[in-house]
Symmetry: C2
Subunit: 159 residues, 2 copies
DNA sequence: TAGGCAGAGTGATAGAATAACGCTAAAGAA
DNA sequence: TTCTTTAGCGTTATTCTATCACTCTGCCTA
């Protein structure tokens, strides 16, 4: 098992150094799953990490441009890959993407989306997850994946 | 308070009669909020009720056609209205819409989306809702709305 | 009656995502 | 090594989802 206990806090800006460390961890994680973090995938993940807010696919498209004018499928393929190995999430209610802040957790994450600052915090909400699992089992539903998102005002914006 | 305890089960097909009764209830609900269930809004709600699966906006567009060729804004305005008065929900992970099956609940609904039959059951998951409220309070987050959706296989399809 | 406004029509466009194809280069088999 | 396969990416086009900006109408109210 790869140890990817990374230093940075997903909700704070990070230094270039931290980002690079994280990207190297991500590469190791991908390889531990027999997958490759190609330059494009790495670049997209880097953009997600650098973004203070959930990133839209077409914004990534523009930002990656200096790199070699990317077209939509390029971005979407990279995003699909990152999601498939657990390095990124899609926030359905925003049609936007974030780097995963909790590598190594078999998580069903909860996202707290602040309507004021536009940020999205990834919360590891154990009570919610287990309650949901319970409610769904009771309903006879076999879970494959869950999406939990909350809109509101975050702690910082409420001060 | 209007009593809108309606007879039909949201996950079973309903008779035209049931649909009409429900639409009349819906009209009363809208009016109790100082809003009007105009013919277009009523028609869109009717289409949602008649649909066995979550309905896509552009499918509604086609179905409403005999009615007077509608354009996208017409549908989206009707859907926005229905959501605003709690008569419909958007399922974010499908970009599709359903009539609300639990009128009169101040609910944060949970949707169980079956990958096999394509249906979406609206579940009143109390344990989950309160756990989520708890987790979010603990995180200092002020909730305005929540989206909870599960993908998987429903009870019926598992038999 | 005049004014204001919500609702709806309409054409255009923005934004999100995928289809379908071909090319290349690296990995695996012979 | 050489052949074969396949994953990844480039490219064009298209589909699907949603909103903008403007107009018109009919209702309510002053």
């Amino acid at each position: 098992m790869i140890e990817a206990q990374h230093a940075h806090d997903a909700n704070k800006p990070h230094t270039p150094k931290e980002t690079e460390v994280f990207l190297d961890e991500a590469e190791a994680i991908a390889e531990s799953k027999g997958q490759k973090l190609t330059p494009i995938r790495r670049k997209v993940l880097e953009l997600l990490l650098d973004s203070r807010e959930p990133a839209k696919a077409y914004d990534l498209l523009e930002k990656i441009e200096g790199y070699g004018a990317a077209k939509p499928p390029t971005i979407y393929r990279a995003l699909d890959f990152l999601q498939s190995v657990g390095l990124a999430h899609k926030i359905e209610s925003l049609n936007a993407y974030v780097a995963c802040g909790h590598i190594n957790h078999e998580h069903s994450a909860v996202f707290l989306i602040c309507d004021k600052c536009g940020g999205a915090e990834e919360l590891h909400a154990d009570a919610t997850s287990s309650a949901l699992g319970e409610d769904l089992r009771a309903a006879g539903f076999e879970i494959k994946a869950t999406t939990i998102e909350a809109r509101g005002i975050c702690r910082d914006c409420n001060e």
